[in-house]
């Protein structure tokens, strides 16, 4: 049985950053990155616009703090945000030192661009493939450390708890079909979000909330799961992301009447695109994502959106930027729109609509990435520290995975050194149990009639209709019931593939199992939050209710389903106020 000091589940941005942090912290520690895909396939790769950190003289940590807090609708923990904004610049510079090809000013300094909800431009970018460049830089840099062992294409099925602390994971090696224990003195979950529980998402196929479900099953709470970010500009049909940078560079949103409809939703007054002050920060198209996505739904209700066989959409117009700027600043937007929407944004507006993008919620952790289960840490989208609260500010997530990836790496390293002993024989036994569970329930499963794809589709449809941009008591109850039904029907799934070699029917089933778990925690958390805040909008409770709900929800797994509790929000310096944009 392989034994490592620190095992990291997930090889995306957060996982790689954590691995490097451990490796640098102490070269004698052995680190394993266990990922169900090769690390460079991780979904960090698809992030486009950029990563926020204060570097310019006209900016300040205080401004970054305030933008983040008001963006979060005061649900972020302010102590965490303070540390986040303070460590962000050095983390970003570190990545620069590792070779990340940041776009530059003529004088050779790193360039920044404005993003939604920001008072001052502070988004570092590598054209519009920031996540791609960050991920590859981190991955390639991680290859330098001989004490980092990759377990590429190993699917983690369970977190092992012995003696009240996490002591490793069981993982299925895809190429052999064998389930093994990977013992660890500390484990960090960096598996990303769960966008795939929705039908229409920018997220890749691998984002099935595995790590959230693993931690949840191990008894750790899932925090603020009801907050799901819709990105306002995805391509209809495919959900492919058109980065916020398109608006940061000056792109505008118009409805079918050619009207910049955002001005009707308390987001400020539009300036002409030729005006030198356009785009105005924290106003109109540079409002926060939750408000823009909500405005879209209102436009649909007013009948002012375009509609075709792919559904409703509005136009994102960047034509006035001109070909040169488009090719230099947002070339990927042009590539994606041309390939997948069949239109060249230099000459035509891009059809867009809101699409599920990011889970603000996740595994409940403290500022060091530690969970309530000793030895278990989490970072990145899978975790909820929380710095994102009810609505994440665009370009904070890439920075988050660096800052908290590194912190959880250091935390886990420390924990591993302090807790060197492992209950090897008990772990061995758990491995056998897990192997037989997977063999019995999946690989050798007889009978069964439910197709995986059907269950998955019913789940995603139910999430969209009941827990989408706007929710209500009745819609959420319906979704909760549906998910409970799916939970039961899951035991009757049909598995046809008996192979031990790269059995993707098996992994699809395991992923669906995880997704249903995460979806239930989400729907129940949403049901219990009887207010509207940030991305969580209740048609039956339209106002923010600080009296009762200025707190984090916390979903715990029980026999009967999720049990929702609450946890105080940390407010250090800025008590809740009205959230103002464009005024």
């Amino acid at each position: 049985m392989p034994v490592h000091d620190v095992v990291i589940v997930g090889g995306g941005g957060a996982g790689l950053r954590a691995a490097i942090a451990v490796a640098e912290e102490n070269p004698d520690l052995s680190v394993a990155i266990v990922s169900k895909v090769f690390p460079m396939r991780s979904h960090t790769v698809a992030a486009e616009g950029g990563a926020a950190a204060v570097i310019k003289d006209n900016d300040s940590l205080e401004d970054h703090f305030r933008d983040t807090i008001s963006g979060s609708d005061w649900l972020a923990d302010q102590d965490a945000v303070e540390e986040f904004v303070r460590e962000a610049p050095s983390e970003m510079i570190q990545l620069e030192h590792w070779g990340c090809p940041w776009s530059r000013e003529p004088d050779g300094k790193v360039a920044v661009r404005p993003f939604g909800g920001m008072k001052i431009e502070r988004t570092w970018f590598a054209a519009d493939k920031t996540g791609f460049h960050m991920l590859h830089t981190l991955y390639q840099t991680s290859l330098k450390y001989d004490n980092v062992t990759p377990y590429d294409e190993w699917f983690v099925t369970n977190i092992l708890v012995e003696n009240g602390r996490c002591q490793g994971v069981t993982a299925l090696e895809l190429r052999t079909g064998k389930t093994e224990v990977i013992a660890a003195k500390a484990v960090i979950i960096c598996t990303g979000g769960a966008g795939r529980i929705f039908p229409f998402t920018t997220n890749g196929a691998i984002k099935t909330g595995d790590g959230m479900a693993l931690a949840y099953r191990a008894g750790v709470g899932l925090k603020d799961m009801e907050f799901v970010q819709y990105h306002p500009t995805g391509l209809p049909g495919t959900g492919i992301l058109i980065t916020e940078a398109a608006r940061g560079e000056g792109g505008i949103l118009v409805n079918k009447e050619g009207y910049r409809y955002l001005e009707d939703y308390d987001l400020g007054k539009p300036l002409d695109v030729t005006h030198p002050d356009h785009p105005v920060k924290k106003s109109m198209e540079l409002g926060p994502r939750d408000r823009l996505s909500q405005a879209f739904i209102k436009e649909v209700e007013k009948g002012r959106t375009f509609i075709d066989e792919l559904g409703h959409y509005v136009h994102l117009d960047v034509r006035h930027l001109g070909q040169k700027k488009i090719d230099k600043k947002i070339p990927f937007v042009r590539e994606l729109a041309s390939k997948y929407a069949g239109i060249d944004p230099v000459y035509h507006p891009i059809p867009v609509r809101p699409v599920v993008h990011y889970c603000m919620g996740g595994i409940d952790t403290d500022k060091e990435g530690a969970t309530t289960l000793p030895g278990l840490f989490a970072a990145g989208e899978a975790a909820c520290v929380s710095i994102n609260g009810a609505n994440r500010l665009g370009s904070n997530s890439l920075t988050e995975l660096l800052v908290f990836g590194a912190r959880s790496g250091r935390g886990a390293a420390k924990f591993a050194i302090e807790h060197p002993d492992l209950d090897m024989s008990s772990l061995e036994k758990q491995a056998l149990d897990e192997q037989s569970r997977i063999t019995k329930n999946f690989i050798c499963k007889q009978k069964g009639s439910e197709r995986i794809a059907n269950l998955r589709q019913e789940m995603t449809q139910s999430m969209e209709s009941g827990a989408g941009i706007y929710r209500s008591e009745s819609s959420l109850k319906e979704t909760c019931n549906k998910l409970a039904e799916l939970r039961d029907r899951f035991s009757n799934i049909l598995i046809e593939d008996r192979s031990l070699t790269f059995n993707t029917e098996l992994t699809s089933a395991l992923e669906l199992d995880f997704m249903i778990e995460v979806a239930r925690s989400l729907a129940h958390s949403a049901l219990e939050r009887r207010e509207s805040r940030g991305s969580h909008q209740r048609t039956d409770h339209v106002n923010r209710d600080d009296q009762n709900f200025l707190k984090h929800s916390l979903a715990l797994q029980t026999e009967e389903g999720p049990k929702i509790g609450y946890k105080e929000v940390v407010i250090t310096s800025w008590p809740p106020e009205e959230r103002v944009y464009g005024r």
């Binding site: 090769f38 396939r41 979904h43 698809a46 570097i55 050095s90 590859h136």
Partner: protein, 249 residues
Amino acid sequence: MTRKTMELEILRYRPEKEERPTFETYEIPFKEEWVVLDAINYIKDNIDGSLSYRWSCRMGVCGSCGMMLNGIPKLSCAVFLRDYYPDKVRVEPLTGFPIQRDLVIVMDDFIHKLKEIKPWIIRDEGQEQSLEEGEYLQSPAELAAFKQYSMCINCMLCYAACPVYAIDNSFVGPAAIALAQRYNLDSRDHGRELRQDVIASNEGVWECTFVGECSEVCPKDVDPAGAIQRGKVSGTIDYFKDVLMPWGG
């Protein structure tokens, strides 16, 4: 209105069941907006759940879903069915690699080579700047000098297009060499000499016969063929410098 359909002919290999791969044909609905990957997902979801392949982002950036489509390596998420309709599409795993299962290839060799070329910033002794000193300055022109080679998504299409690699797996190969060039040409890097051990070896740039197809199939216009030829020129210059000025010039 009759529903339009078309056929995919997919190479299946189930190692526990069969000695060698065989083609199986699937009829799928034709949809104007579907990419080939959508059709393959349709098969997995509705016809045969045991079909195995890799995919994730479906927007041409994660690099998982490379396959041979009618003999040409492509990202299956970036090619539309309408480009083939009504003809049949033959889908195979990427050429030049062993088949693990169905459309899944064994990538170990590439991962090994990737590490071998040292794809990270290497600085001369004492040249490391502290974080407090801020970023290394790099002009847009210096960035442009290597930017193209940093766009590689490791999708392996270039390897699948490369006959040299298919004939002799010891060849370091297009993507790895282009990545080495990406770091060699970075103004912040001093590691070129270390990388030359691999790049300028017999298994490095010299294996290349400049078929040029690696650059043709590259979905990100990285131009590995160009990177390799430039490697030959600089390798030759190094060599003659060494011979003519053995004391080091």
